[in-house]
């Protein structure tokens, strides 16, 4: 653990470094003032992993030093231990408010020092493990998306109301026919989706789908709904307890949002595709039809919609 100890009393720093070495901490450096410490932090070849700051120092006290260190993005969470005389309780409170994590009292007690540093070390280890796990999850997700084919259904993350196709199918299967009759499904077809898939690649293509899903979902914010991505540029929204929907209203809302999104995409040199909107579909009257067929019918209805070259939402002409 790379430690930086800061105190304006040289003999105390000598004592501290002796005790740190005795405890097995050899990667330690010292500074005699806050400004010197900030210079060393800025110029460090490898970032410090733990700080020990005296509270009462001149010209910059330990609390100001904590505030300065916490403004360095790299050290937002690096353990900071304050070293203070017992009567400095008020200062300790202020140091904690400024972002310090723990404190050690003077006179220095080697057992206390050992315990506090062990705690700092365990925090560092836990954070490193959490980072590793997070990186693995990100890698797995990137691998999953990168290997996606154009016609694969895929979960669009981070968009409210959007669920995986399998979840949507489960949802439909678990609804009674009576309740399903009170719902309708609206399909949305992204025109030239395959061309975008080829030119953008799977990762950016799914980002585009996520943006479009967000716009579609917010265009229907007045209707409780669930939405899923079926692959091949097709999205289907199931409106809950709404057997009918005014697709003109949805189209108008979506047009406004697509115009805004279009300007953003134009800024990075990408043309936004048009989105076709299908007529609302309801479950068939036959009790033998699988409820999940609703999704397929909504998808087909959207594909029959007429597209124009501009990034506008269009309704299928019956």
């Amino acid at each position: 653990m790379r430690i930086l100890a800061v105190d304006d009393e040289p003999i105390f720093l000598d004592l501290l470094t002796s005790q740190l070495e005795e405890l097995g901490y050899f990667k330690q450096e010292v500074a005699h003032s806050g400004p010197q410490a900030l210079d060393m932090i800025r110029d460090a070849a490898a970032p410090y992993e733990c700080f020990l700051f005296d509270v009462q120092m001149v010209p910059m006290d330990g609390i100001r030093l904590v505030r300065n260190v916490r403004q360095i993005p790299q050290h937002l969470t690096t353990p900071i231990l304050m070293i203070s005389a017992l009567q400095d309780k008020d200062s300790i409170d202020r140091a904690f408010l400024a972002g310090a994590n723990d404190y050690i009292t003077k006179p220095l007690d080697s057992i206390e020092l050992k315990i506090r540093l062990a705690m700092a070390q365990s925090v560092l280890t836990e954070r490193a493990q959490a980072r590793l796990l997070q990186n693995r999850l990100v890698e797995q997700e990137q691998t999953r998306v990168a290997s996606l084919r154009f016609d694969d259904p895929s979960l669009i993350d981070d968009v409210d109301c959007v669920i995986a196709l399998s979840s949507m199918e489960n949802f439909l299967l678990k609804q009674g026919l009576l309740r399903l009759r009170q719902c309708c499904a609206i399909g949305f077809h992204v025109q030239s989706a395959e061309t975008h898939f080829q030119s953008l690649g799977p990762v950016y293509y799914m980002d585009l789908m996520a943006d479009l899903a967000t716009m579609i979902s917010t265009s229907m914010q007045n209707f409780p709904h669930l939405m899923t991505y079926l692959g091949s540029g097709d999205l289907v929204a199931v409106l809950l307890d709404r057997p009918h929907a005014d697709t003109d209203q949805i189209r108008n809302e979506l047009d406004v949002r697509l115009d805004t999104l279009s300007a953003r995409y134009a800024g990075v040199g990408t043309a936004l595709p048009s989105v076709g909107i299908g007529e609302p579909m309801r479950v068939g009257l036959s009790p033998f039809e699988c409820p999940t067929r609703l999704l397929e019918r909504a998808r087909l209805a959207a594909r029959q919609s007429v597209h124009a070259g501009r990034p506008r939402a269009r309704i299928a002409v019956a």
Binding site: E9, I11, L15, S18, E29, Q56, L86, P107
Partner: protein, 109 residues
């Protein structure tokens, strides 16, 4: 700044304790001089003088106990609190007694 090569903690502590005692003369002098200036006609000098006394007391309170001088550390801490709170009654005598205590450590009777 790189640290001195590792040595046994006891040897290091002995050396640091000796350094602490060597520095006591200077610390006594600084406190004495600053204490004399605490009533200076120039309020800035008087204020700075009290600040110097507080800084010295704080440092001694922080390190004396670590070198085995717990009594000095505790006395410095009490004096620091008294000066901070402006409890000036009898403070002259207490400061003098404290400086005597430090001198006794330099030249044990």
């Amino acid at each position: 700044m790189q640290n001195a090569p590792r040595q046994s903690l006891d040897a290091a502590l002995d050396a640091l304790r000796a350094s602490f005692l060597d520095q006591l003369d200077d610390r006594i002098l600084r406190i004495e001089q600053a204490w004399l200036l605490r009533n200076d006609a120039n309020p800035q000098i008087a204020q700075r003088a009290v600040q110097v006394v507080l800084e010295e007391l704080h440092k001694i309170a922080g390190i004396a106990g670590s070198f085995g001088f717990e009594e000095i550390g505790a006395a410095a801490q009490m004096l620091e609190t008294a000066v901070e709170r402006g409890e000036m009654a009898g403070l002259d005598a207490r400061i003098n007694a404290f400086l005597d205590m430090l001198e006794d450590e330099i030249e044990p009777i």
